[in-house]
Symmetry: C2
Subunit: 468 residues, 2 copies
């Protein structure tokens, strides 16, 4: 029988691995990641220096249940939005805005809340004060699985919520806590590495004393500026839809309004090249004319998109982050100039740390970031790992087997920053292989690799001289 | 501003790589795959030996546009369903049915049609005759992007559609056609390899003569039987929902109805272990009682799920497929006994071909299948590749660097068959790393590897004897 596979519990249960909840250990990490990402995004958007509190508390009498709490000093959330934000998939403020942010889909925290309810039956608990003057509210959000909609219940004043403004999210879920690789601890440590302006106070399960990641910089990063789509990245069907839906009275006006880098002159030459009147009503554009405009756009020289929509970490702070994290002899970092894939601006940053007390006969360790968020899973699926494996490290004096990572006392840091990171799935764990992105990562790695190669040959020469 | 990122053009355009349309070459392949999978599924469901026609025709006057047509002799499609099937995401007949099939999400062909309209503005063209007695209909399906719903237009009799029953799907899209690795040709060839009962007639772009893959077997595979969820795979939230929605009058009845392998006796002992009355009304079960039942279920011994819901290819036919495809000295294959991951039955099959005219110093070639569909992309993300790389091929006499594929004149065939294949994204290109699945693949590879190892040591001994 034919019917809809609507986005509800059944879908989440079947597709958990698509959303990052494959197993209890990963589910715990994904839940924290989604909440922390939201908090940092919200603080940056409001130009507040982020102070985060993360608590993982084991549930008494249950062996694999935790209450995860993430609290921020952000702008808070208006009561009317709470139900949809936490209880509806695909609802958010970032999908349609073309600028760099950690969240981009509208799925993250609602999926985490659903996973909690799926495994423990418990609702999410939200506390928020949306402005310095108002009361702080506390409420529970559960998903009515029969009607597939959120229910907001037990709303009352949150007398214990002391922040001037901010949000606290609590989710009770089935999870597993382990230290080491791909752990919550590693995630928070790497988050601090790529976000020196954030401070995180972290209470692990059963810990009375918190781990504190103090902020290393009081400077809020320049906020990303939203841009309009660039005409060279837009498909025929999207162009047709933009024109049909445009409030402008003329085609020429609609082209200027809908796109970035389209001035009156550029709009005029697009119309001329297409042979369509610039005064035509955009709502009346037929498919054939849209096709002519589409081809004309792709033949017209148009300035590249503005790049203040992306926010690289910056060479200095990448180096500083590596120095804090790794004991090494050589540190090098580079921020590439902005580039574009499918109309979306992006920036690649890379860094290397070599030597020190790193193991000389281990495979290199790759630390990956996308929009300043650590990527801890699915390296095999990631364009970053593929670019590292595809780089000829032998050129810089390292050992490397075909199809594998280089061997040596080496840490490789790569950051992909974009208005829309092309992840391989909604769990946002690995970057898809767009050739423009792979090319830029390779160029960044080669730049750092050359510095490493020069350092290593200099050291070999010095060692040879000492022998003589 | 907060709003929904609804599943329409904008989402498809942004998430193309999630659905398999990353670039024109892949989009052409994905479109053919989604249509071919649907045709084979429909024929098998109706117990018809599948005869497929696949045509790729370049569009005159355009350099990168093709019309893709896939036609089958299946049961056809009822007119009232055409709009939703081809024009609505998440609409299908397979998501809720727990049995092996190639399609499982309700997304495939609608995404392909949307991609066509996105890149060329053209609607899909559907011809279908849903029974031997009726007229064949022809209609166009386009997506109204403003209202996000399908429009079925220009419906008329399809005088050229000669089959007694069946469906023809035509999509005009931006694509690129290249032969060789990861091509349409390779996909059809591997489809024939894993589906010997299917015949495919294939007209490539500009080809007057078709490539014909004749059927190698007149036996239709045993159809997969649908099963109910197994209680051991079900989460607390799903249990709660199943009980609340059950039409049964008692809890005991609801347990028997909702699950496979739950007899009256088993249902009774679950209720006893939970301390909940078997006569309780299922709709009145509160969260606390659902929790008790959930824990009781997981402590109760329950027979493993029935495995007639999965359809392995079978050792003989795997060997036959390899022999047809590869020139080698040794062939070996194994079908593992059925296993379960997260309540879902699955079966692993593996095969090896060694020697012959395969290159001795190349990395081994891995041919992957999921539910009899070739997986050509994202090997790095795939549990199959990870299991191959994680197998210690040195134990069987092969060379292998750490973290890489083995080296040698070797082809490795792996098939994952399940009621629900856990793909890493909706493009269904790679299998997610469930430990139960990885373990079974390793066991299958080890079984085949031991045969290879024995063969190679025997050959070495024979070679040594010849030297003496
Ligand atoms: N702590 C918070 N403070 C303020 N606003 C928040 C907070 N958390 C979530 N939001 C709002 O709720 C929206 C939905 O969050 P959600 O995590 O579901 O999606 P997203 O962050 O937009 O995308 P993604 O799925 O990639 O995480 C956000 O876009 C943001 O507007
Ligand atoms: N050629 C066909 N003949 C008969 N029925 C078809 C045919 N193609 C599609 N269908 C029906 O339309 C439904 C939707 O197809 P669609 O490809 O969108 O999703 P699916 O095959 O169920 O899942 P998936 O997204 O994994 O492909 C199918 O489930 C099937 O019932
Ligand atoms: Mg988010
Ligand atoms: Mg399908």
């Amino acid at each position: 029988t034919l019917r809809f596979a609507t986005l509800r519990f059944a879908t989440l249960a079947k597709n958990r691995h698509l959303l990052g909840f494959d197993n209890p250990r990963k589910a715990l990490l994904t839940t924290i990641k989604e909440a922390v990402d939201n908090s940092i995004d919200a603080c940056e958007e409001a130009e507040i220096l982020p102070d985060l509190l993360v608590e993982i508390s084991p549930v008494e009498g249950e062996d694999e249940r935790f209450v995860v709490a993430v609290e921020d000093n952000g702008p808070g959330i208006v009561k009317a939005q709470v139900g949809k934000i936490f209880g509806k998939l695909l609802y958010g403020s970032k999908f349609h805005s073309m600028k760099q942010s950690r969240g981009q889909q509208g799925i993250g925290i609602s999926a985490a809340g659903m996973y909690g309810q799926l495994t423990t039956g418990k609702p999410m608990r939200i506390m928020t004060r949306p402005s310095k003057s108002g009361k702080a509210l506390r409420m529970e959000v559960r998903i009515d699985t029969a009607r597939n909609r959120p229910e907001v219940m037990r709303e009352r004043e949150a007398k214990t919520f002391r922040k001037g403004s901010g949000t606290r999210v609590e989710i009770e879920l089935e999870g597993r806590y382990l230290k080491g690789k791909q752990s919550v601890d590693e995630y928070l440590q790497q988050t601090a590495m790529a976000n020196p302006h954030v401070s995180i106070t972290y209470y692990g399960p059963g810990e009375d004393d918190p781990v504190v990641f103090k902020r290393a910089s009081k400077r809020i990063p320049e906020p990303a500026r939203e841009i309009k789509p660039h005409p060279h990245g837009v498909e025929l069907g999207v162009l047709a839809r933009l024109l049909k839906g445009s409030p402008a009275r003329t085609l020429k006006g609609a082209l200027q309004d809908s796109f970035s880098r389209v001035s009156a002159a550029v709009a005029g030459s697009i119309c001329d090249a297409a042979g369509v009147s610039p005064k035509a009503r955009p709502g009346a554009i037929a498919n054939r004319e849209a096709d002519l405009l589409y081809k004309a756009i792709n033949k017209t020289r148009i300035m590249s998109p503005a790049t203040d929509c992306v926010v690289p970490i910056g060479q200095e702070l990448v180096l500083e982050g590596l120095r804090k994290e790794v004991d090494a002899d050589l540190f090098t970092a580079v921020t590439r100039p902005p580039a574009v894939y499918r109309g979306n601006p992006f920036v690649i940053e890379a860094g290397l740390a070599w030597g020190g007390n790193l193991a000389a006969d281990d495979l290199a360790r790759v630390i990956r970031f996308a929009n300043r968020v650590p990527l801890l899973y699915q390296p095999g699926a990631c364009a970053i790992s593929k670019s590292v494996v595809g780089t000829t490290w032998k050129n810089y004096g390292l050992q490397q087997s075909r199809g594998a990572l280089p061997v040596g006392p080496l840490v490789i840091f790569v950051h992909v920053a974009s208005v829309w990171v092309p992840f391989t799935s909604e769990s946002k764990e690995a970057v898809a292989h767009y050739p423009e992105i792979v090319k830029e990562i390779r160029l960044a790695l080669n730049e750092c690799g050359r510095k490493l190669g020069a350092f290593l040959s200099r050291r070999r020469r010095e060692a040879d001289e000492v022998k003589k």
